[in-house]
Subunit: 224 residues, 2 copies
């Protein structure tokens, strides 16, 4: 049986990917990273879903990334920007080289448990904001991961050219429990509905003609 | 002035590279990783030399790598193998994907301080033992690092096709203080002189027609 290590954030994309891999008969081992992000509620959601789906779940503390390279997502004194996800100010939310660090550790884990794949949920919507979600970077990491060990590990990034709306459509067809996912970049009890991340999530559900099952602090109208 | 983040282990290769970069007028920021290795004396040596050369030195705890993928270098219950470095049993000393993890974090650090380069001391002698020291892997990581951020970081691996003996020759011409370097994989006060790593170090000094200034537990004859 094929085995995959999945980088699971607890957000829409990686959660959908978990259901997608399981649906293809792949044995999934989830790995999540805590790097001091304000939205650590993501990880609670990830854990709840893994429990529900009987997926082994490893949570790795990556405060070390904050130590070498602080960002708006991890430093309380830096404000999380509001508004559209594709605007320039969202670049402040980029954690330098976060994806390479997570992919490197996920690959180490894959080698140690004899997994065939490392899977992650990078998608088209992130390309303009995050350099380490671009196809070019993914291609180079695929090659690096394939050559880092005597055993052969393949990087799977099936949503690379899909929008978040298209991913939600896939997820709905797989009965993904989106009530146990988290996207908001702020640290509140309910999602803020205003940050770039919430805005993008709401647009994805609108694209899929579906209602987002989580609760929001504000309605969409208030946020405009 | 060009700026480089150097992955400094405290061993022969990376220490020589530090002197080499400084000699070329490059501003060096050293980063060392502690991942539970038995030979943590390497890091003390690294720190002493950075102090001496006025190089800022960051030590990063990477126990997380041990958490995802244990190896003979970090687990006390696994025996460190003795003998030639090129024999099969030395593969037990490989920490899965260690180099990708260290390169990823060094790159995050380089981005955050605006460095142009990440430098590391992979060399020809390691190619057959460690898959993540092979030119193929280095090439793919060079591409991945160049594409992981909007800023451009270049990976420097100048000793990739050199033997350890040739590196020591370069180091001697640069007056490298090899008395403050450490290579032995065991945790003793003096180097054991027997493990694959000591054997290789002694051969490198012999190649360079020089005497290794550090002390050994045993003489070479005793170890045969």
């Amino acid at each position: 049986m094929a085995k995959a290590v999945l980088i699971l954030s607890g957000g829409l994309d990686s959660t959908t990917l978990m259901y997608d891999l399981l649906n293809k008969g792949i044995e999934v081992h989830a790995i999540s990273f805590f790097y001091g992000q304000k939205h650590s509620k993501e990880l609670e959601c990830a854990h709840i879903l893994c429990d529900k789906l009987n997926v082994p779940h490893k949570i790795i503390d990556l405060e070390v990334l904050n130590e070498v390279a602080p960002s708006a997502l991890t430093r309380s004194e830096i404000e999380v920007p509001e508004g559209q996800y594709d605007s320039d100010n969202m670049k402040a939310t980029a954690v330098p080289n976060r994806n390479m660090v997570m992919l490197a550790l996920a690959t180490a884990y894959a080698i140690s448990i004899g997994a065939n794949y490392v899977a992650y949920g990078a998608h088209a919507g992130d390309h303009t904001i995050y350099p380490d979600c671009r196809p070019k970077f993914v291609k180079h990491m695929t090659d690096a991961i394939a050559s880092c060990d005597w055993s052969k590990v393949e990087l799977l990034v099936p949503y690379l050219y899909m929008t978040k709306g298209e991913i939600v459509k896939v997820g709905l067809s797989l009965d993904v429990d989106y009530s146990s996912t988290w996207t908001c970049y702020k640290g509140g009890d309910k999602a803020c509905g205003k940050c770039g991340s919430c805005t993008e999530r709401l647009e994805a559900f609108a694209f899929a003609n579906a209602v987002d099952p989580i609760e929001y602090e504000t309605t969409e109208e208030e946020s405009e």
